[in-house]
Amino acid sequence: MNLKTLLQAAGLATVMAMTPLATQAATPSNQLVVGVSLVTMVSLDPGAMSGRQSVEVNTNVYDTLITADSAQKGVFHPSLATNWELNEARDAITFHLRKDVKFHSGNPLTAKDFVFSMKRAMELGIGGSNVRVFGYNKDNIDAMIEAPDDYTVIVHFPKPTDPNLILGVIAGKGVCMVIDSKLAMQNQKDGDYGQAWLTTHSAGSGPYILDRWDANSMVILNRNDAYWGGKPEMKRIIYRHMPESQTLRLALEQHDIDIAWGMSVADLKAVQKDEELVTAKVPSGHVFYLAMSMKDEKYAKKEVREAVRHLIDYEGINNTILPFTGTLYQRPIPAGLPGALPNPMYKFDPDLAKKLLADAGYPDGFSTSIRVLSTSPFVNVATALQASLAKGGIKAEIMTGNGDQVYGPMKARKYEMIVGRGGDRTGAHPYTSLLSIVYNPDNSDEAKLYTLQAWRTSFQDTAINEELQKALLEPDEKKQADMYADIQKRFEEDIPAQQIISMAYDTVVYQKDVSNFIGHPYQNTSYLEVKKER
């Protein structure tokens, strides 16, 4: 009897604990909540950040001299610089800065801060691969970046190049973001230019101010009421670490978050039907590829590489595995850029592949291995490839792993095949797209040209290297585009060791009442004008 009473009490307590405590929650109209995985956020120092979420946060905390248009490639807008001009010798650009800009600290922003930011990045050497590629380094940076007065910056070119590329670098988010030099140096420790401090603090002039960053938990940005470009609409922007796609979906449906990045295909398909939500495509310059190492004797043979080219089910992979993350594409230069060509439309053709393999001395095929990330969609693409390669007699074993176990061996050039995603992050210029995929000036192991996919696959065509540098300096745009197109054709005739399968993009989902939100292709999404229509 007594036991029964106790149990009844326990039962009642449980029921009470489960009773509705309040009604449905919704985000406040003056705060924007972004659900995203913050796993790759390891530093908020503009000179050392690498993950995409760091870039997006800093885009709203720091300013650059100019910004790249979110839709039209090669178009730049004034930001800290009101105007700029190329000199006659085409080897330097002069930027004229606004005079009314103050950092969050209250310090005035001058040309010296930009010079400091660039010099700091080169001295520290922990970021800025995209700048060094044009010849800037810590020895020449003093001469290359000048501030003749407080509101003028002159950027010289270390070697002849296309000025648009340099503009792209200056507009790029990273080492070209302007850091408050006074504040950074106040927090310097052991000659680190404030690096340790800036990893978790901010010293910017942008529309939002970093309030707090709890690793793998959240980032909170507060509005900069004194922003020179006008007061931002949102009072706070909150990034919440939400690594689970289904949790993101539920939170979107409950209006607990406004924007969601990184949802799975299944959940994206489901939310597409929801009329309260908008699904948008954000382009990138990355490609999905199948890479072969030409250090392996099998893939050193052109016929084998060509056979593999015809053992990929391009349409199947793009239609069933890569919706929301990729579109069928087989060439290095993204559509819409000068020199871009229509797809060659390689098809899955096992008979042709078998014939090619027999010509190469492998009438019965061979065994190989594919290294791939254990996550979706990579492992799914690898599984599809395993099946299609088998039709040509190639028995592939799939070796899954984390980034270190997949891209580590690729950088050490010790692998057979890899399914991955890479290439030029911005996809804004044909030269950089080609550079990352077809160019390899030094095919030795010691060169360690990690950023070049051709080096990673041990592919080298010296004629292509020369053509690419020639095209870069061609002043006639029409001729230049033709040269870029020719390089692609020659690359394909060589049968490269990296077969492009798909042009990657990201899918973002947001509430219908969020307006002025434009997912920027280089993770440079600005929240300055984003607001809620309620």
Partner: protein, 343 residues
């Protein structure tokens, strides 16, 4: 009860302190060397996939990874011994501050879950034993079997779908509605307590709405095992002669069950509850991931996967300390519950 002489007690304390230090040192050493052989490259995480070799190498040097392993180990031990746990390799955040932030979140969740688990599991286990092979025993068996066999992440997802998405009874992910984040000052780090201390009932309500579901799911899983254990311990006791004697004496059913049989299984139960609690403090990774709960489990696993040795080491030492502390507490309770062990 005999009171131990002072030298004996002091000697015991010294012995205990020395064993604790040795245990922790061994743990630190083992973790350090396991960290060395793990196929994880923290530099690659730090510089990102687009970095060139120069960037990679500069970062490698900055982290001191070019030093011989024993030099790195010596430096590391030296720092730990002086209480400087350093900054996490990967996020640059102070590891101490990180742990102080994530650990209370786990304590809060784990404690509530154990209260739910033990509070329901033990009475249900006693009931099942008393009403062996009757309807209530069968119902309890089905309930606990489900708790045992259903994967906890699935249970978490489904409960979110039902109670959060469809019924709107509870809050979703995180410890509190996002716009309440940072509204009450951190005193204990336990949001439920901090909000009460601040008298901010809105935050308190939001925190309750958020913790109730993950705690209930975790609690249900632990309830299942605690219930099964209690049942079998009780059955063993109920078959003993002293129970028959008690019944013959004419004691009420309640006194026989709780006053005699249950008294004798308290010590065994205590060990199991303590172990369950320790496991929860170590972090319930799956539940923390699904509910985006910024707790210790996520922190530990993330640093393990990223090869962040600094953070990992502190986590491992902390887990070691949790087990040692809970062991001491259990020992103390043993002495209270079972006078034989106090002798």
């Amino acid at each position: 009860m005999k009171i131990p002489s002072m030298p004996g007690r002091v000697g015991g304390v010294i012995r205990f302190v020395v064993t604790t230090i040795i245990t922790l040192l061994l743990l630190a050493t083992l973790t350090f060397f396991l960290g060395q052989v793990m196929p994880v490259d923290p530099v690659a995480h730090l510089v990102g996939p687009d970095a060139d070799y120069e960037t990679y190498h500069a970062t490698y040097l900055r982290l001191g990874l070019d030093q011989p392993i024993w030099v790195q180990f010596k430096l590391y031990l030296g720092r730990i011994l002086t209480g400087d746990f350093g900054t996490a390799f990967l996020t640059g955040n102070s590891v101490r501050a990180d742990v102080i932030r994530v650990f209370p979140a786990t304590i809060e969740l784990g404690t509530l879950a154990v209260i739910i688990g033990a509070g329901l599991g033990i009475p249900l286990g006693v009931l099942a034993a008393v009403r062996r092979n009757r309807l209530s025993d069968h119902i309890i068996r089905v309930l606990t079997l489900l708790g045992h066999s259903v994967p906890i992440f699935w249970l978490g997802m489904m409960s979110l779908l039902l109670f959060y998405s469809h019924l709107h009874w509870v809050g979703g992910s995180g410890r509190v509605d996002i716009f309440y984040e940072g509204m009450v000052p951190t005193r204990t780090g336990l949001l439920l307590i901090d909000s009460v201390m601040e008298g901010d009932w809105e935050v308190f309500e939001s925190a309750v709405r958020h913790i109730i579901l993950p705690a209930a799911v975790l609690g249900y899983a632990s309830m299942a095992s605690l219930c099964r254990m209690t049942r079998s311990f009780m059955l063993e006791q109920l078959g003993q002669e002293y129970i028959i004697a008690a019944r013959v004496k004419g004691l009420s059913n309640w006194r026989v069950i709780w006053g005699h049989a249950f008294r004798n299984i308290r010590v065994q139960l205590l060990t199991i509850v303590a172990l369950t609690y320790a496991a929860m403090l170590e972090g319930a990774l799956l539940i923390e991931t699904i509910f985006s709960w910024p707790g210790f489990g996520q922190y530990l696993t993330h640093n393990l996967l990223m090869g962040d040795l600094n953070a990992m080491m502190v986590c491992v030492l902390l887990v070691g300390l949790i087990f040692i502390t809970l062991n001491i507490i259990t020992d103390l309770f043993y002495k209270v519950f079972d006078p034989r062990t106090a002798r």
